[in-house]
Symmetry: C2
């Protein structure tokens, strides 16, 4: 049974993991026969957003604790996992990926990346194990390999300004439709736009399902 | 295009809506061509649970605000909706359904029910519009029709103690497997056990998909 990591970044599109993307990823993995290893870094969220009003809330929440909501409690601190623990690793999107796992949403190509996120991506690459990135999460990949001697193909859909920042980090951006994914066979990297482009949950699901099936083909 | 209400109770299995059940419900509705009307009551959660440790947290969260995470912000206060606004109404499970929408998890058959939840269920019944209840949510139905002159068939799976409390409220409990649902054709009520029995997300999905398809057949 393939063990597939799913790295979350909180619970909610505006300050954490995009919930639909995370659950569709889990459902597709489970139906494909994979064992899911939920993980997240043990770090305070950059902010807490009231998803009803869009306003920032005067609260402090922890990424690992809130991610545990999506994982139904079965989640491991990313610091306790290595590439030996999984056959592939996926990153759903949501602002959490670009606020908590890195701060690409605030700084673009000048962003910081959480050290455990950088470490696990680099370990997976070194072990030649597949990586999947959904929505804005490809920015994590680009930042993690910023100074590495590789040019991987990734997508965040078709937003030119965001793609420019990705390319500034040294990755190659390819335009992709919502129901498709970009496959980098050489580096075993797959990415899909999901809610970067999706107008509804079915559209998001169409690309995520392709991404997961590509991951399962590799492992 | 059928308008289907999805009434949430927070965001997380231990103090709100079960996230997988809610997203699978939304995905199946969207793929079936329905327009989803997310709603929740504007009320403080009974408690806030740390989903990593299971401990209660010293925090105050609002059911409508947290439910908005699952709804990506597109959610309406239940007090602002009537049965005219939707063709059917579904209730995902999670402890929120039995802690925030009613307190069946604490009081069993002696439970309170949120007045707006009771009102909308009774309105839907009066309008002969279908209702769907997932996981522990059938307790809401039983409580809402406690003193009504009707005996509907519902299921929460096979837990005898829980079923006894449902029957004490005057509803008829039927044992149901995780991949199936109980259909009450006369009253247009459908229910499925989901995570009352499911060992994984695919099992939960199998029953929820049947439930949603039954709802779409009726509308």
């Amino acid at each position: 049974m393939a063990k597939i990591g799913v790295c979350l970044s909180g619970c909610g599109v505006n300050d954490g993991s995009e919930i639909h993307e995370s659950v569709i990823t889990a459902l597709t993995l489970d139906r494909a026969g994979a064992e899911i290893i939920y993980t997240a870094p043990d770090v305070v969220q950059t902010k807490v957003v009231n998803h009803l009003t869009g306003d920032e809330m005067n609260e402090i929440r922890n990424v690992l604790v809130e991610s545990a909501r999506i994982a139904r409690g079965e989640i491991t601190d990313l610091a306790q996992l290595t590439s030996d623990d999984m056959d592939a690793l996926l990153f759903p999107g949501g602002f959490g990926a670009a606020l908590n796992l890195c701060d690409f949403a605030l700084k673009g190509a000048d962003c910081y990346i959480h050290p455990e996120v950088k470490r696990i991506i680099q370990e997976m690459l070194a072990a030649q194990k597949p990586l999947g990135f959904i929505c804005i999460a490809p920015a994590l990949f680009a930042r993690a390999v910023k100074n590495a001697d590789m040019t991987a193909k990734i997508t965040i859909g078709n937003d030119r300004a965001t793609a420019d920042q990705i390319e500034k980090l040294g990755s190659q951006h390819e335009i992709c439709s919502v129901d498709d994914c970009i496959v980098d066979e050489e580096n075993k990297i797959v990415s899909t736009p999901a809610y970067m482009l999706a107008g509804n949950i079915s559209e998001a699901a169409s690309g995520i399902e392709k991404l997961v099936h590509q991951i399962m083909k590799w492992v």
